[in-house]
């Protein structure tokens, strides 16, 4: 996952002076094919991190531009450049401060009117613009034809028609970029003007502030943003202006607090002129593919049924293909590797052998066996995202999400949580309001991830035989019920039941792009492996050390003592000290619970553990243990990203307290109810 640099200064992104590498920026609204173009140009030669001090993903790549290296920065996809969100501030700050040599604005020919809105804002920033007119194929299917030359003449900016998903037009785009770099072409964007009824006010503000606007910001743009009520710019100017000037400007702004609609309307009038000139509609009145598909996919009933079907299919695929692969890796790779290592280290001290075999291979190795399951899950998710289906899933789930004071967009990260809670917590970045995002982060770990499902899949058949499937389904439903209840409760308690606005674009459906999907899966998978190599590794060694010291015997180790010390807490849930220890060791990685039980009962995890467990524990204790496993504090990696994404230990503490209380109460209740019912 992307590393967090909360206090890092806004370091310059390039060493252009020394390296002479041109700096290019890619700007565009969401769903315009911006990522496709970025991936096409940079391939695997890209770096994913965070923008300094922000939990917004920053992607930068390098590629060969006519024999020299160029740096390409993928700006966050935003609909506008007003300070509505951190993404929008990042995008415009980058353009104003880093002054990229060329800004490539990606627009969709199929949705030209909407996508030119961002271009209208970029034009006002005085950036050296090129318009990548993407998706001309989709536009033609929808019966639209865009004349690039007319658009170019109207905008004052080079326009290159493209189909990024088929790599068409890329060479032309790079030619134009080269021409701008070499000074052969100079883009001279003609920015939109404000609606005439506000022109005088804008001029007045500009006249008053012009002498005081801080260095890199264009005064005309600053005046416009003040009139738009942009919070960032207002703050900056309040500090920069002499008090009496600020008071005068502030009075004007207050008298025109609806002016941003005049600004927005001015932009759309400008866009309207472009579109009328450049777009022809040879065919009209045909119902597009998107409309036909949405009659089903966005229907309140059929949409839900479709979503349930798709989820079932994804889980089915994950467990029928991924689970055997996982088991095979466990028995054919990890177990022999452990055996070979033990043999190789037969001369070495016992602690070294233990560290290598039980700590490293047993801990990190078994986490890595989950890779096939995760890859399948990530691929399915990326495919659904890429074809445009995920927005429909969010749409049909909106009603259910309302119960928790959330809206449909929160469904997407929660869905990702079925694979792994870590990308789920990071995925909450799509939610635009902070309270809704925080709430989603807090409840996301209640989605049963593949690791917890693996524990259940191993232990449920051991205890419940043929009824294991029902127990498993019951546990999943119970978790989801706990999720809805906690969400509702937290929303009332922490956020006073407020709800954020649900406004979301429904992108056009299109064919999946294998490159985009492949890269997404690659990035998520490598991030997981990196995590296994660092955080999980450290924790695995620590747990192993606690289970080995002081005497080299688990039954007398510090870990066992800790388990015995905490045993009174486990007793109401029907746990003995061994189950308590198993639960504690599930913190680094959930599936550790099985391995720990294996060690505590003195068997290899593969053979005989089921029988020993059935003999040792009543079904009530087993059910309680499985319930607690589902609801217990999330794994270490999830806690780490919770800290990273919320930026505070306070919310981590809230989250831990929530899960401790929830799992303890649920475990106690389940144990006593089951003991009573199964008398």
């Amino acid at each position: 996952m992307a590393e967090c640099h909360p206090a890092a200064p806004a370091a310059p992104t390039r060493t252009r002076v020394e390296a002479g590498a041109p700096l290019l920026a890619l700007a565009g609204q969401p769903n315009m094919g911006k990522s496709t173009l970025f991936n096409l140009l940079t391939g695997l030669n890209q770096h994913v991190g965070n923008w300094p001090g922000k939990t917004v993903e920053r992607r930068e790549g390098r590629f060969d531009l006519h024999g020299r290296e160029a740096i390409l920065v993928d700006l966050p996809g935003t609909y506008s450049l007003t300070a509505n969100s951190p993404e929008e501030v990042i995008a415009r700050e980058f353009i104003v401060r880093e002054r990229p040599d060329v800004v490539i604005a990606v627009v969709s020919a199929a949705q030209l009117e909407r996508s030119l809105y961002l271009v209208a804002e970029l034009a006002a920033l005085d950036a050296p613009l090129v318009l990548a007119l993407n998706m001309v194929d989709v536009a033609e299917q929808e019966g639209l034809r865009v004349e690039p030359h007319v658009l170019e003449a109207a905008l004052g900016v080079p326009v290159v028609p493209m189909v990024a998903s088929k790599a068409l037009g890329v060479r032309d785009l790079l030619e134009v970029v080269e021409d701008i770099l070499s000074g052969k072409r100079l883009p001279a964007p003609r920015p939109p003007e404000i609606r005439p009824d506000h022109a005088a006010v804008l001029a007045e503000i500009q006249a008053r502030i012009a002498a005081h606007v801080p260095a890199p910001y264009p005064p005309a743009w600053t005046a416009l943003k003040l009139l738009e009520g942009d919070a960032e710019v207002t703050r900056t100017m309040q500090a920069a202006l002499p008090p009496e000037t600020w008071q005068a400007v502030h009075a004007i702004l207050r008298a025109h607090d609806d002016a941003f609609l005049a600004v927005a309307s001015g932009r759309y009038e400008w866009i309207g002129r472009m579109v009328r000139a450049a777009v022809t509609r040879p065919r009209v009145g045909q119902i597009g593919l998107t409309e036909r598909l949405d009659r089903w996919a966005a229907h309140p009933f059929w949409g839900m049924a479709l979503l349930a079907g798709i989820l079932g299919l994804v889980f089915g695929l994950t467990f029928t293909v991924g689970a055997p692969l996982q088991a095979w890796l466990e028995s054919a790779v990890i177990a022999p590797l452990a055996g070979l290592t033990a043999e190789a280290l037969v001369e070495a001290p016992a602690w070294l052998r233990g560290l290598a075999v039980d700590g490293l291979i047993g801990g990190v190795g078994s986490v890595l066996t989950f890779l096939p399951i995760l890859v399948i899950f990530f691929a399915a998710f990326a495919l659904l995202e890429d074809v445009g289906y995920m927005a429909r899933a969010a749409y049909v789930m909106d009603n259910l999400m309302h119960l928790m004071g959330l809206h449909g967009k929160s469904f997407l990260p929660l869905f990702l949580g079925f694979g792994c809670n870590v990308p789920a917590v990071m995925g909450t970045r799509v939610i635009d309001s902070w309270p809704a995002r925080l709430l989603t982060i807090l409840i996301a770990p209640l989605v049963p991830c593949t690791a917890r499902m693996a524990v259940v899949a191993f232990l449920a058949p051991a205890f419940f035989g043929a009824k294991a499937l029902w127990v498993t389904w019951g546990l999943v439903l119970f978790s989801l019920l706990a999720l809805v209840l906690s969400g509702t409760l937290l929303n009332r308690l922490l956020f006073k039941g407020q709800r954020s606005a649900f406004i979301m674009e429904m992108p056009l459906y299109h064919l999946p792009n294998p490159r985009t999907i492949g890269l997404l899966v690659w990035q998520r998978t490598t991030a997981f492996i990196r995590k296994a190599g660092t955080a999980i590794l450290g924790m695995a060694v620590l747990v192993w050390a606690l289970s080995y010291l002081p005497g080299g015997d688990l039954n007398t180790s510090y870990l066992a003592r800790l388990g015995q010390f905490l045993e009174p807490l486990g007793r109401p849930m029907g746990f003995d000290w061994r189950l308590t220890v198993a639960l504690l060791t599930s913190f680094p990685a959930k599936e550790n619970a099985i391995a720990t039980l294996g060690v505590l009962f003195g068997v290899s995890p593969e053979a005989g553990l089921s029988e020993l467990l059935t003999a040792a524990y009543s079904p009530a204790a087993a059910l309680s243990f499985l319930t607690v496993t589902m609801l217990f504090i999330p794994c270490m990696a999830t806690v780490a990203v919770t800290k990273q994404e919320t930026g505070s230990w306070r919310w981590v503490a809230v989250s831990l307290a929530l899960f401790l209380a929830l799992s303890f109460l649920a475990g106690t209740a389940v144990y006593h109810l089951a003991a009573w019912a199964l008398r």
């Binding site: 609909y79 609609l261 949405d294 674009e505």
Partner: protein, 83 residues
């Protein structure tokens, strides 16, 4: 032009209208504007089942809106609607 403004949430699927007024508060209005929803914009309701969110097309883009948000958008029905 008549004075009868309706809430967008009250329009049926297939009906067309012109946006006249936004009453959703600055932050939400600004986001609506960046997606094309400004006074004067023509829109068509694609889906509205009377509860839950709705889908509208505005400036060539399909937008999903929560019912609460739609209720704060005042529109004027166009005569040329086929609903």
């Amino acid at each position: 032009m008549t004075d009868t403004l309706l809430s967008l949430a009250d329009l049926q699927a297939g009906q067309r209208a012109t946006v006249r007024e936004l009453r959703a508060g600055r932050a939400v209005e600004s986001r609506l504007a960046s997606l094309g929803m400004t006074p004067g914009a023509a829109l068509e309701v694609v889906q509205n089942y009377g509860r839950g969110p709705l889908i509208v097309t505005v400036r060539g883009t399909r937008i999903a809106l929560g019912r609460g948000e739609a209720a704060k958008i005042l529109v004027e029905r166009s005569n040329g609607s086929h609903g």
